[in-house]
């Protein structure tokens, strides 16, 4: 009886531990379908931001920057779509993608109320901050979590691309001052 009780507690303790471990893993380490969704969402957000800037800005450097964001993010997202199709993976919506989209909608609304130099500055400053944030996520979470080698490789190219965009945005921001 005593033995059975102890083993019962041990079983519960083990379950609890395993339960919290798998929860921690789920929270810290997104799956490949989730990673694909996050990466695609991050790109699509910057495409939308670029379209808004192309429509609103009259500064030629800002418009040229936005055009290169549009071009690059559409290209990398096309590669991502081709890859998930090839791997037969369905991107899976998740809390990180939703948080990114929510923040992006708020930013777009804020920018839509600005004009001229105030818009240019707010757009470019946000591009610097946004690429920095996405680079942090790619480097610290998405790339280390990715299981599929081709997905990992695409994310690594994406990180170099986003780092380039961050620097490009910083150059444009410095020129606006």
């Amino acid at each position: 009886m005593r033995v059975r009780l102890i083993s019962g507690i041990a079983a519960i303790a083990a379950l609890g531990l395993a339960g919290s471990l798998s929860l921690a893993t789920a929270a810290d380490k997104p799956s490949d379908p989730q990673i694909a969704h996050i990466a695609y969402t991050a790109g699509a957000i910057d495409v939308e931001a670029a379209k808004q800037a192309i429509a609103k800005s009259k500064n030629k450097d800002v418009v040229a920057f936005a055009e290169s964001m549009l071009r690059d993010h559409e290209a990398v997202n096309k590669q991502a779509l081709d890859l998930v199709k090839k791997l037969n993976v369905t991107p899976e919506d998740n809390a990180t993608s939703q948080a990114l989209s929510k923040a992006a909608t708020a930013e777009r609304d804020k920018l839509s109320g600005l004009e001229g130099a105030a818009f240019d500055k707010a757009y470019v400053d946000n591009e610097v901050a946004y690429h920095k944030q996405v680079n942090g996520a790619l480097e610290g979470l998405l790339i280390p979590s990715a299981q599929n080698a081709e997905l990992k490789s695409l994310l690594e190219t994406g990180l170099k691309l986003f780092r380039g965009h961050q620097q490009h945005a910083e150059h444009v921001a410095a020129a606006l001052k």
């Binding site: 071009r71 190219t157 380039g164 490009h168």
Partner: protein
């Protein structure tokens, strides 16, 4: 085949009594110039071959600006000795260097 032609051409020029010049190929793949550093001579051609899905440039500040569309190439002929640092205007983290010997 193309490489054979490139090798054959300078030989012809040399036999005609002119300075030997070569074409040095730099590949762009996955957001990087490869090789990132090349050593060439005056009169040589640098040809960048863009294998990425992204538009790049090979730009020297205050100097030339070579546009490199997706899956296309572009080139310059170097005409003075020295060190040329170049970068991509769209992705300033992409950097390369050309050392030109007289």
């Amino acid at each position: 085949m193309r490489h054979l032609l490139l090798i054959a051409m300078p030989t012809l020029i040399l036999s005609a009594g002119m300075a030997q010049s070569a074409t040095i190929e730099v590949t762009i793949e996955k957001m990087a110039f490869s090789p990132a550093e090349v050593e060439v001579k005056i009169g040589d051609t640098i040809e960048w071959v863009n294998k990425d899905a992204f538009v790049h440039t090979a730009t020297v500040k205050g100097g030339w600006d070579v546009q490199l569309p997706v899956k296309k190439s572009g080139s310059v002929v170097v005409d003075k000795a020295g060190t040329l640092d170049y970068y991509c205007r769209f992705h300033p983290n992409m950097k390369g260097r050309i050392t030109v010997a007289p």
